[in-house]
């Protein structure tokens, strides 16, 4: 009983220590959810400040310089520190359970990935208190970012490198997990769609993040160590930065949207009580989108002056992506067609996602027409477009996922009533904010403007947009109330709380025991749990007898390795100012990182075993957390 017993009943400090050292994918998921949620709120506050500033012409709510810092941090935070970590939260929480695994392939690296992301994000956000945030836009185009004074852009470059390592590790870890750790019978073509999209998104991370890291690394050297990669006076070239950034940046949007597609692909069948229509073409479309995602980056650069041949090729390639995306949309509609739809909160998000995302998708095709894009580019039309796909796709998926997977992660259910209020406010606010922005752009409003002059026909649209943003904020506040309420009440709902769960994650008690599956399940087809339920069984057929389970020990090294880089980053940044303490700080930070790595390498850690007898005792008591 020993090992199981001491994971129970802990004081507050004990809980904190448990989370600082955990290597359990379910706890790491919670860490990602909390940290990502926190950054989402920060990004949201920044968004509100943008809309307040632009509510009326010639407003002076924030100054011009501060506005540029806000838009930069809004974009960077939302993409790197909110959307991706929140998706990582669901990947961590759900994917190993969906494939019938006891954890991810590398639990230690999983923890390291989280702490790197967290310290990178923390470092980036500390810029607000240490002389100013980055102000060159989330794209940080080289000529402007090199000209930017102060340390803002240094925070961007260093913070994103640290958190980027974390993301890359997470991606590789998921790839290895999905390739190697599927339960017996779980062939590739029996994997749930969320696992598939995690798989493809992880592959995209693997190929997309290195170019970003290279770009950031070069920019770090340009800004801090006197090189000239992007410095034209020294023979550099700023267009190269644009290529680096968008070779990463375009796949990045698919890294975000594919898992979102995955979440919806789980929700539709569950609440329509009908298997996903055209499973194999959905998988094919996912892979194709992932592949084409790397072929189209230059459509962000139509106005850079690459010439008509490049523009024409990238225009046509971009249009091609609409085909697999269309396949997905129609398959979702056909999934609910003929089903028995229950409108729970996750399902409300899922159905409203279809028209919202289609609207974002079609403007994407419009922008693919290069000569028309010469007009759309860098105008509010673009702002409208990418918020339609990112909010209408990714954020709706995150909210849907929160409601859908909350029982899986915490064993409790978010309130349906408050959830519906959040949905109504958020959905109305979203369309109110962004629909009108298409027209603002067409009427000649450039993006990233901190104010606009009266008399240009832009007043009404901007005001409507700001009002919409207030609705979205209200929706998010109610969501938070919902979360707090639910966790305070703490009503445990047990296994398969939605009643119509189809995949393996619903086959075990919610929240899952820390070893996930007592016996690895035997998977007999797509929607493995549904198959068993249809045959009148309540549990999966085990694929192995009960035996000892090998578990990894908790580790503090991931935290320390990340902390070391965090400290070193300050040293690297301030050595530019010839601060005498900077180089020692850099060395100390690196020493902590490499010391922890060395400790990890030398010390043998074989983990521990949960003994068979303990597992039998533990029979269906539910999770121990």
């Amino acid at each position: 009983m020993s090992t199981i017993a001491h994971t129970q009943k802990r004081g507050f400090a004990g809980t904190v220590w448990e989370y600082l050292t955990t290597v359990d994918h379910k706890k790491i998921a919670i860490l990602y959810l909390i940290a990502g949620g926190l950054f989402f709120l920060i990004g949201g506050i920044e968004a509100m400040m943008i809309r307040i500033q632009l509510a009326v012409p010639n407003n002076d709510f924030v100054s011009a310089g501060l506005f540029n810092e806000i838009i930069t941090m809004h974009g960077t935070t939302m993409i790197f520190l909110a959307a991706m970590p929140l998706l990582f939260a669901f990947m961590n929480a759900v994917m190993p359970l969906q494939i019938g695994a006891r954890d991810v392939a590398f639990p230690f690296i999983n923890a390291l990935g989280f702490w790197l992301f967290f310290f990178g994000g923390l470092f980036l956000n500390l810029s607000w208190f240490l002389g100013g945030a980055p102000d060159a836009g989330w794209t940080s185009y080289a000529s402007l970012s090199l000209a930017s004074e102060g340390h803002g852009v240094d925070f961007y470059v260093l913070g994103l490198q640290i958190s980027g390592f974390g993301t890359l590790m997470g991606g590789i870890n998921f790839l290895v997990t999905i390739i190697n750790m599927r339960a017996p019978g779980m062939t590739y073509m029996r994997m749930p769609l969320f696992t598939w999209t995690t798989f493809v998104a992880s592959a995209l991370i693997l190929f997309a993040f290195p170019p970003l890291t290279v770009g950031l690394f070069m920019m770090m050297f340009d800004r801090m160590f006197g090189s000239g990669f992007f410095d034209v006076a020294a023979g550099g070239n700023t267009i190269i930065w644009e290529h680096f950034f968008w070779i990463f940046g375009h796949p990045e949007v698919y890294i975000l949207i594919l898992p979102a597609f995955g979440i919806f692909s789980e929700i539709f069948p569950t609440f329509a009580r009908k298997r996903l229509f055209g499973y194999s073409s959905m998988v094919f479309a996912t892979v194709l989108i992932g592949f084409l995602g790397f072929m189209v980056w230059a459509h962000h650069m139509f106005t850079t002056g690459l010439g008509p041949i490049a523009n024409a090729i990238f225009a046509v390639a971009t249009m091609a992506i609409a085909v697999p995306t269309g396949i997905k949309i129609f398959n979702w509609i056909m999934t609910i067609w003929g089903g028995k739809i229950t409108f729970t909160v996750p399902m409300l998000y899922a159905v409203s996602f279809i028209p919202s995302f289609v609207m974002g998708g079609v403007t994407g095709v419009m922008q693919a027409a290069a000569p028309a894009d010469y007009q759309f580019h860098d105008s509010y039309f673009i702002v409208a477009h990418f918020h339609y796909v990112i909010v209408g796709g990714v954020v709706l998926a995150l909210l849907a996922g929160c409601h859908f997977y909350w029982p899986l992660m915490f064993g409790t259910m978010l309130s349906e009533r408050l959830g519906k209020i959040t949905f109504a406010l958020f959905f109305t606010g979203f369309h109110l904010t962004f629909f009108i922005q298409h027209f603002l752009g067409l009427m000649g409003m450039p993006r990233r403007v901190w104010t606009f002059l009266p008399g240009q026909g832009l007043e009404t649209g901007n005001l409507i947009s700001s009002i919409g943003a207030a609705f979205m904020a209200a929706g998010v506040i109610i969501f938070l109330i919902n979360v707090v309420n639910t966790q305070v009440k703490n009503v445990q709902v047990g296994r398969d709380p939605w009643k119509d769960g189809r995949t393996l994650e619903w086959a075990i008690p919610s929240p899952a025991p820390f070893y996930n599956f007592k016996q690895l399940p035997l998977v007999r087809g797509l929607d493995a749990f549904w198959i068993e339920k249809m045959e009148g069984k309540t549990e999966m057929t085990p694929a192995e007898p009960i035996g000892d389970i090998h578990m990894p020990n908790n580790a503090f090294a991931p935290f320390l390795i990340s902390l070391g880089l965090f400290i070193a980053a300050f040293g690297a940044m301030y050595q530019v100012d010839d601060k005498p303490w900077a180089i020692p700080v850099l060395i100390i930070g690196m020493a902590i990182t490499f010391g922890s790595m060395l400790y990890r390498s030398i010390k043998d850690d074989h983990g521990y075993h949960i003994h068979k007898e303990d597992l039998l005792d533990d029979a269906d008591k539910g999770g121990t957390r």
Binding site: I341, V362, Q375, M443
Partner: protein, 358 residues
């Protein structure tokens, strides 16, 4: 579900209302009211793609609405619907139809891409190095624009003057950080890069120009610093003969002493404090690196002060007193010391007298 539909309807009404209220934007600014061929090409493509895409949205929305309304689960209905695997026919249908639609869009896209990139006329040089086509070299600097007419040998800034009813060719570049040259009503934008010259052509129809009061708004479309939002310029599109007169007048601008004593005093101050950066003759032969600030040869004719303030002596004085207040991060602040009220009056009088138009 009903609730949701009403919401949708409400949204549509809201959107349409806003549209009707504002028309399609202002004729001097909106991309929806193209002023010439380049703008028209982009506009036609926008309309074609919008029509196709609105069609797609309608089809999807109808399918979606039917599915959502028809297949709701009734209370107490605990039946399991038929588990359908998929349909090859349907998959082929919704793969092939979008491909056809995209081909319809792709062909005009490719044609228009090459049409808009056709700047061969700029390369047809006469023996003296000039071109028959009107060429303007656009140089973007932190928060101001310079327009050099190499054939005519004149330089101006902030207000671009072009003849109507003919293609005008632009060489664009930036002198500090990247900007983007955009006259929404006339056509698409092109980035002003720091390492190379980009080329673009635009055209302004005489008729459309008069509708817009002969003035179009130009914008910087690439984030370039705190005052990016304020980096506006104006385009004066006038008939060919007026344009020729303007060129002649510009060529003959000289550093003559004004007759008004106040303006003359202003000129003295200008010589001491401003002339090292700002030229007052349009035939400025210095290399561009030496042209550190906007050319003021026809300052008195400008539409706005610094591209954003109303054009009168009062605003000129406000601007000179504290440029930082109006364009944060500009390069003029702090380069000429404090100016007394009297000096401001004199300078404003001098500057407003710099005109080439009667």
């Amino acid at each position: 579900m009903k609730q949701k539909l009403t919401k949708w309807r409400l949204l549509t009404v809201f959107g349409l209302l806003a549209l009707v209220l504002s028309g399609c934007g202002e004729p001097f600014l909106s991309t929806l009211r193209p002023a010439g061929e380049a703008g028209q090409i982009a506009y036609d493509l926008m309309i074609l793609s919008t029509v196709i895409m609105v069609g797609v949205v309608i089809v999807v929305s109808i399918m979606f609405a039917v599915a959502v309304i028809k297949f709701r689960r009734k209370k107490g209905d605990d039946s399991i619907p038929k588990q359908v695997e998929g349909s090859h026919t349907l998959e082929i249908v919704w793969t092939v139809i979008p491909i056809l639609l995209l081909i319809i869009l792709a062909i005009p896209t490719v044609i228009a891409t090459f049409d808009l990139a056709d700047t061969k006329a700029m390369d047809k040089k006469n023996e003296d190095g000039t071109t028959d086509a009107l060429v303007v070299n656009v140089r973007a600097s932190l928060y101001w624009w310079e327009f050099e007419y190499p054939n005519q040998g004149i330089v101006t800034s902030q207000d671009l003057v072009v003849p109507t009813d003919q293609k005008v060719y632009f060489n664009v570049k930036a002198s500090d950080v990247k900007h983007s040259f955009w006259i929404p009503a006339a056509g698409g934008k092109i980035d002003t890069n720091v390492e190379n010259v980009n080329k673009i052509w635009l055209e302004f129809d005489n008729e459309k120009a008069s509708e817009a009061g002969n003035i179009f708004y130009g914008k910087c479309a690439e984030l370039c610093g705190p005052s990016h939002a304020l980096m506006d310029f104006k385009v004066k599109a006038i008939p060919q003969d007026e344009f020729d007169q303007w060129v002649t007048a510009m060529k003959s601008t000289k550093e003559s002493t004004p007759t008004d004593p106040e303006a003359a005093a202003g000129q003295e101050i200008f010589k001491q404090k401003c002339l090292s950066c700002h030229a007052v003759t349009a035939a400025d032969e210095r290399p561009e690196q030496a042209r550190l600030a906007p050319n003021l040869a026809n300052f008195g004719d400008r539409e706005l002060v610094a591209g954003i303030l109303e054009h009168n002596e009062e605003e000129v004085k406000n601007w000179l007193e504290d440029p930082e207040k109006y364009k944060p991060g500009n390069k003029m602040t702090g380069t000429y010391g404090e100016l007394s009220d009297q000096e401001l009056d004199q300078l404003a009088a001098y500057l407003m007298g710099l005109k080439v138009e009667q």
